[in-house]
C-alpha cells in the first residue's frame, strides 16, 4: 500500500559539504497507513541502476532524528510519520548527473500481521 508514493519525484540530489561531494540523498515515504516506530523498520534496500547500495552507507533522517540504518532497531522513541517525507542520505561517490533507475524496498515489522509488510517502488529520477 502507498508503494507508488515511496520514492518522491524530483528528490535525487548530490550532497556537498564544504565544497566537497559527500554523496547523494533522496526523499522517501513509509508505505503504511499510520506512523511507525523506527525500531519496526527492518530493512531499507536501495538499488541505483541495478547496483545495490550497501546499507552501511545510508542514514535515514526524519523529524525525530537522524539514524544510520544499523541504528533503526534501537530507535525506540522515534517515529516515521504517516505520509512524512524523510530523507535518505547516502555516503560515497554520487552517481553521474542525469537520469537513473532507482529501486527501493522497505521491510516493516507490523505486529498484527503474520508476515513482513514489504513496500516496493521503482522510478527514474534525475540527479539535480
Amino acid at each position: 500500500m502507498f508503494d507508488k508514493y515511496i520514492l518522491c519525484e524530483n528528490s535525487l540530489r548530490t550532497r556537498v559539504e564544504n565544497g566537497e561531494p559527500k554523496g547523494f540523498s533522496l526523499e522517501v515515504r513509509l508505505p503504511y497507513y499510520r506512523a511507525l516506530g523506527l525500531s519496526m523498520v527492518e530493512q531499507i534496500a536501495l538499488t541505483i541502476d541495478g547496483e545495490p547500495v550497501a546499507p552501511e552507507r545510508m542514514t535515514l533522517c526524519v523529524a525525530d532524528g537522524r539514524f544510520a540504518l544499523a541504528q533503526l532497531g534501537g530507535a525506540h522513541d522515534a517515529n516515521w510519520g504517516f505520509g512524512e517525507v524523510a530523507r535518505l542520505e547516502v555516503d560515497g561517490v554520487p552517481p553521474a548527473a542525469g537520469e537513473h533507475e532507482v529501486q527501493i524496498e522497505q521491510h516493516l515489522r507490523i505486529s498484527y500481521l503474520p508476515f513482513t509488510l514489504i513496500g516496493k517502488d521503482r522510478k527514474r529520477l534525475t540527479l539535480a
Partner: protein
C-alpha cells in the same frame, strides 16, 4: 424484548487516508468533509493524523474540541494499536501491553471518545487487566471483529466468554463489515489483473468465491492450472476475505456498540457490489442497534496504482446509501 434501533451516520477518518498521506487534506479538512455530508460521529486512527499520539499536546486536545464545536461533530472512537513486536529482540510483556492500552484509554478520554477500537489480535487476559482503567475513564474497549475472524471463530467465542465472566459493560464488540464480503471485490480483482493475473484465472477465483469453495481446494486448483505467483497471491486472499451470515450479529447485539462500515468501492449508483448493506441494515434494526455506522473506505490501496483516488466522493456515496437504507428500514432513526 426488542429495543428500538437508533442508528447514526459517522466516519472513521481512516477513510481519507489517501488525501491525508498526500497532504491534500489536513485533520481539520477531514473533519470538515465529514461534517459536510452529515457524518457527524468521528472516529480517528490517531497514529495516522495526530502528532505524538497517544501522547498529544494539551494544545492539540484544545484544538480538537474547538473543531468538534465548530463543525458540529461528535468524537466517538479512537483506534488503538498494540506494537507487541516493537523491539527486534523480544515481545512486549503483559505489563507493557496493559500500560500501552491504558495510555490509549486516557487519550480517548481526552478526545471525548466513548470507545477505543481494540485490535482483534489482543488477548482476553490483557483486556481483563485494562477494565479498571476503562471504567475509570468511562471508555468502552471494543474488540474489532475483523476478517478473517467472525462471530463463530473460536478466538471470538473465547473473547465473548471472557466478557461475560468479567461481568463488565466496558468491553464489547465492534464488527467490521468486511466479515460480510458476499462477492469478491471488483477493485481487488482488477488490481490483480493489472499485476498480471490472467482474466480467466481471475474469473475462476471470483466464481469459486461465490460458490463458497474452501480456500485450500481453490489454491490447489489454481496451482494445477499453472497459476503464476500473482494468481496464487489472488487465490490466497480468499483465506482473508470472508463471507459470513449477517444474522449472527443478533446474538451479540447487546455487546455491539459500534460498526466499522467497511467498503472497497461505491459505484456511481451508490452501491457497494461486494458487501450487502441492504441485508445488513435490517439485521441492525431488528437487533435494536444503538450506535454509529462508521464509514471505513479501504479501496484506495486497490486503485491507487492506476487511478487518482477520490475518498471524499467514495464516502459521500456510502452516506447516500445509508440515508436511503435508514429511510427504508429505520425511519425513526435519530
Amino acid at each position: 424484548m426488542s429495543k428500538t434501533a437508533r442508528i447514526q451516520r459517522g466516519i472513521s477518518l481512516y477513510s481519507y487516508q489517501e488525501e491525508f498521506f498526500l497532504r491534500k487534506l489536513d485533520l481539520e479538512g477531514c473533519i470538515a468533509e465529514a461534517a459536510k455530508i452529515g457524518a457527524n460521529g468521528i472516529e480517528i486512527v490517531s497514529e495516522q493524523m495526530i502528532p505524538r499520539a497517544p501522547d498529544a499536546s494539551s494544545a492539540f486536545y484544545e484544538q480538537w474540541h474547538e473543531w468538534m464545536a465548530q463543525y458540529g461533530t461528535t468524537p466517538v472512537c479512537h483506534d488503538l494499536f498494540l506494537d507487541t513486536k516493537r523491539y527486534p529482540d523480544r515481545r512486549l510483556t503483559d505489563d507493557e501491553c496493559v500500560a500501552s492500552i491504558e495510555a490509549d484509554l486516557r487519550h480517548a478520554h481526552r478526545l471525548g471518545c466513548r470507545f477505543v477500537r481494540v485490535l482483534v489480535s489482543v488477548s482476553p487476559h490483557i483486556l481483563a487487566r485494562c477494565v479498571s482503567a476503562a471504567e475509570h475513564y468511562d471508555v468502552k474497549m471494543l474488540l474489532e471483529v475483523h476478517s478473517p475472524l467472525h462471530f463463530d471463530h473460536p478466538w471470538i467465542m473465547r473473547h465473548a466468554e471472557s466478557m461475560e465472566r468479567l461481568g463488565t459493560q466496558h468491553i464489547g464488540f465492534m464488527p467490521d463489515m468486511g466479515i460480510f464480503v458476499k462477492h469478491y471485490p471488483r477493485v481487488m480483482r482488477d488490481r490483480f489483473v493489472r499485476m498480471g493475473a490472467r482474466e480467466q484465472v481471475a474469473d475462476f477465483i471470483c466464481a469459486a468465491y461465490d460458490e463458497r469453495v474452501l480456500s485450500e481446494y481453490l489454491l490447489q486448483d489454481v496451482r494445477q492450472m499453472g497459476g503464476t505467483a500473482v494468481e496464487l497471491a489472488m487465490a490466497e486472499t480468499v483465506r482473508h476475505t470472508i463471507w459470513s451470515n449477517p444474522k449472527r450479529l443478533l446474538e451479540f447485539m447487546p455487546r455491539i456498540h459500534h460498526i466499522h462500515a467497511k467498503f472497497y468501492e461505491m459505484t456511481v449508483e451508490c452501491v457497494e457490489p461486494s458487501i450487502p448493506y441492504e441485508d445488513i441494515l435490517p439485521v441492525l434494526v431488528e437487533g435494536g442497534y444503538d450506535g454509529y455506522l462508521s464509514s471505513e473506505y479501504e479501496g484506495n490501496r486497490h486503485v491507487q496504482d492506476a487511478f487518482d483516488v477520490d475518498s471524499v466522493e467514495q464516502v459521500r456515496r456510502q452516506h447516500q446509501l445509508f440515508e436511503r437504507l435508514l429511510e427504508q428500514y429505520a425511519p425513526v432513526a435519530a
